[in-house]
């Protein structure tokens, strides 16, 4: 019994704790904040000080004081609205605030009591200067507290190709009108910058001042390892500055704008980012995917015959840089013929409140044998948060491949046997990559023709060089021709000798020697005298040869005067003498 009571007590206590904590979780809260219209004031200038309470318009006005300032209560302002089906109540207590001294004045935290709880506003500071005091600052310097940029980057250390989300926020004071706001600009030499999303407008309070904000969201993808500075970041906009009494008459205000647009360019300093390379020991089929991904695989058709194409459809989805995701790896076996995978489409999907992306790939394989599973499919990626590689493997994906009854078109391609049309077939898929393009009307490759032309020139040059190096000297050639002609004449002389034509024989020999001496040495001789001997000696003839010439001319002249009579033996001797002279 005691034991039962103990258990009941513990149970009650636990129940009470649960009830209280639950009620605490679901208890309504209020939000409080305090702000001024202007944080830069001159001495004696008044501004509006507001205490804003969101959640309950019945919250009492707090009691407070601010040192070195005169505070006067104006009154409350309430607002009730319904946003997304939820009722929102706001009450604002408005005060006039006049600073009583120059310098920086601290606005303290205001305490508000509600339902037994104390809520506090954020303290902030205002700056008070003497009236007429001019800091001599430029417009940019003056407005830097009214228009400025802030950056949100979740990490300054990332891996190559990792997508880093980047948010650049433009803040501008609620009393400032900005027009023609451009997108932020910055140098990204070592990064690929993504497209900016649609800018988001909001309102924020900083140091008690209301700012309108515009969020510009994009991504950065580092492309190489190293330490880099990104920026500075700047943004162009036009500040609307009202003109003072610019219109001279009522009608002028219709033709002239009452304000000027002054360009402003808030700038944000550089951001340093360190880019790391992937760790070593990468998985074998890792191709650079970075993020956190999942893999799904499906096969169509699930029932097929040998030789019929099967499509493997892979879906890779998750968070990360989808651009780095390539088709999953499929194990190569001899049981299948493989075609190049191709990407089908990719998209961004909302899943469980987070924006995820997906990519689809299709790959055609053709079974060459009966099988009940497709080859193993795997996909590797690097998780930058865990700083680890992961490999997703899909083994034993079921498929039913039956043996073909008739000869498969693929297997028998190239054979001469007649092919029967098979029902349920279709053409094979397109080629994923372009081939080498060439001119459509080009019959043969111009390059090949030119190569052959160059080879022909080389060959021709080789022959010409060979000929040039081994050609005869013109003089030698000439000599050879003369000797050839002379020999022809001597053959004719032999014939005349055989025929017994004495007169013609002697005339021919005489003509032969004269011709020979004229062609070879440039001299016409009818007889040998000292002059001819000197000439022929000077031409390089030997004494013996000159003697033979002398003998020849002596004999021939004798025969001429003797009426060309002579024995056959004499004629033969003379012929031999002439041959000796010519061959000399």
């Amino acid at each position: 019994m005691v034991r039962v009571k103990k258990i009941l007590m513990i149970f009650l206590i636990l129940l009470l704790i649960t009830l209280f904590s639950t009620s605490a979780i679901f208890a309504e809260e209020i939000k409080v904040r305090a702000y001024v219209n202007d944080t830069q004031l001159t001495l004696g200038q008044s501004t509006t000080f507001t205490i804003e309470i969101t959640g309950d318009i019945n919250v009492k006005r707090p009691d407070f004081s601010i040192p070195d300032c005169k505070i006067q209560y104006y009154g409350p302002g309430t607002q009730i609205s319904v946003v997304n089906g939820k009722r929102e109540e706001v009450i604002r207590y408005l005060y006039s605030l006049v600073p009583l001294k120059t310098g920086v004045i601290e606005m303290p935290s205001i305490k508000i009591k509600w339902k037994g709880k104390i809520y506090s506003t954020e303290p902030f500071k205002i700056t008070v200067v003497e009236e007429g005091e001019d800091s001599g600052q430029s417009l940019e310097a003056q407005i830097k507290d009214y228009v400025f940029l802030k950056i949100e980057i979740p990490k300054t250390k990332a891996y190559v190709n990792e997508e880093i989300p980047l948010t650049i926020t433009l803040f501008y004071h609620q009393n400032i009108d900005l027009r023609n706001i451009h997108y932020p600009e910055f140098e990204t030499e070592h990064f690929i910058k993504g497209n900016f999303l649609e800018p988001e407008r909001d309102v924020k309070v900083i140091n008690g001042v209301f700012y309108n904000t515009i969020n510009f969201k994009t991504t950065l993808q580092p492309i190489s390892r190293g330490k880099y500075s990104m920026g500075p970041i700047s943004l162009k906009a036009d500040l609307v500055v009202p003109r003072k009494n610019s219109a001279n008459s009522f009608f002028d205000s219709f033709f002239e704008p009452e304000y000027d647009l002054i360009p402003v360019k808030p700038i944000l300093d550089e951001v340093n980012i360190e880019v790391l390379d992937f760790p070593a020991e990468k998985p074998e089929n890792f191709t650079g995917a970075i993020g956190r991904f999942s893999l799904e695989v499906s096969v169509t058709p699930e029932n097929a015959k040998v030789g019929e194409p099967i499509t493997i459809r892979s879906r890779i989805y998750g968070e990360g840089n989808l651009k780095t995701v390539t088709a999953p790896h499929i194990e190569k076996t001899t049981d299948f013929k493989y075609y190049q995978p191709s990407e089908v489409n990719s998209s961004s999907i909302q899943q469980q409140g987070t924006k995820q992306k997906e990519k689809f790939f299709e790959q055609i394989i053709i079974p060459l044998k009966q099988a009940d599973t497709i080859p193993t499919i795997s996909f590797s990626y690097f998780d930058p948060e865990e700083e680890k590689y992961h490999t997703i493997t899909k083994k034993d994906v079921k498929v039913n491949i039956q043996k073909e009854n008739v000869n498969s078109q693929i297997l028998n391609y190239g054979s001469l046997s007649p092919i029967e049309k098979v029902e349920g077939r279709d053409i094979l898929y397109i080629k994923g990559k372009p081939d080498n393009f060439r001119k459509r009307t080009e019959i043969v490759s111009v390059k090949l023709i030119l190569y052959n032309g160059i080879l022909a020139i080389i060959l021709l040059t080789a022959f010409l060089i060979k000929w040039f190096l081994h050609r005869e000297h013109p003089m030698l050639k000439r000599r050879r021709e003369i000797i050839k002609t002379t020999h022809k004449m001597l053959i004719e002389g032999e014939n005349l000798l055989k025929q017994g034509e004495n007169s013609s024989f002697y005339s021919l020999l005489y003509q032969t020697i004269q011709n020979y001496l004229k062609e070879m040495y440039g001299i016409t001789i009818t007889g040998i005298s000292d002059y001819e001997i000197d000439y022929l000696t000077g031409a390089g003839l030997s004494t013996e040869l000159i003697k033979k010439l002398t003998d020849f001319f002596q004999i021939i002249n004798e025969k001429r005067f003797a009426g060309y009579s002579g024995t056959k033996g004499e004629m033969e001797k003379l012929l031999v003498l002439v041959k000796d002279i010519v061959n000399g």
Binding site: I410, K431, F437, R438, I449, L450, N452, I457, I458, K466
Partner: protein, 260 residues
């Protein structure tokens, strides 16, 4: 002699300059990116099932004056998906001139021939007699043989020590070279002397005269292959494999080769 050498060097220089500036690689340097991106774009259309846009984009590449085996293959696939087997066949045949040994092309070509019931037509006659190689592959063989021939000739002329040992090989290469040149020349002549075309309309009436109401001589179905003999004011004089001749409208027929 000096003049002859000067002329040789000038000719060589001219060849190199022409080669450098007319090299298809240099010319294509900037256009290849554009052609490749059009190709990939067309593929995306195809994958998305937008076959008309895919075909249009492939044709854009062709209209720029460039072609490749894969381009014709994909274009043929596109036309097939658009239910135009005649145009599909003509582009498969064009692809075969670029890549005669591609198994996918062989499969698809065979498939479409079967579908068009053209098994009895001697399609291979249309493509070079040496149907297993392209004309450029034959030219590459000739170039290789010629290079060997030049090398051996240089050895024969200038290295008398090993002249005798290369003589036999030189003669063999020379004979092979001459035969290759003759054979390729014959193939090129035969190939480009003819003008084959494919009927691309579902049926085509071949008339005795090139006029609208000319007497119909015979009819040809889509995919039939004919020979173009003459072109006259939007009409084409063709002859079929049985040597029957007649006139067809030019829009009903598409030549396989673009150089005509």
């Amino acid at each position: 002699m000096g003049k002859i050498f000067k002329m040789i060097y000038l000719l060589s220089g001219l060849f190199f300059v022409i080669f450098f500036f007319s090299s298809s690689n240099i010319l294509l340097a900037n256009t290849e990116d554009t052609l490749n991106s059009l190709f990939y774009k067309a593929n995306e259309y195809y994958k998305a099932g937008q076959f008309e846009k895919a075909v249009e984009t492939y044709e854009k590449i062709l209209s720029r004056g460039y072609a490749s085996g894969n381009l014709y293959y994909n274009l043929a696939n596109g036309y097939y998906k658009l239910n135009q087997p005649g145009k599909s066949l003509v582009n498969y045949l064009r692809a075969k001139m670029f890549m005669p040994r591609d198994p996918d092309l062989g499969y698809n070509l065979e498939y479409i021939i079967t579908e068009l019931k053209l098994e009895d037509e001697n399609i291979d006659q249309l493509i070079p007699v040496l149907g297993y190689f392209t004309v450029n592959e034959m030219l590459m063989l000739i170039t290789t043989l010629f290079a060997l021939l030049v090398g051996l000739t240089l050895i024969y002329l200038y290295l008398p020590g090993i002249k005798k040992s290369v003589k036999k090989l030189l003669y063999i290469i020379l004979v092979t070279f001459v035969l290759s040149v003759v054979g390729t020349g014959f193939v090129i002549y035969n190939t480009y002397h003819s003008n084959p075309a494919v009927i691309i309309s579902s049926s085509a009436n071949v008339r005795f005269e090139p006029i609208e109401n000319g007497q119909i001589h015979f009819e040809l179905s889509e995919g039939k292959i004919v020979e173009i003999e003459q072109i006259h004011e939007g009409w084409v004089l063709i002859s079929d494999p049985d040597k029957k001749r007649g006139w067809l409208k030019a829009s009903q027929i598409e030549p396989i080769r673009f150089n005509n």
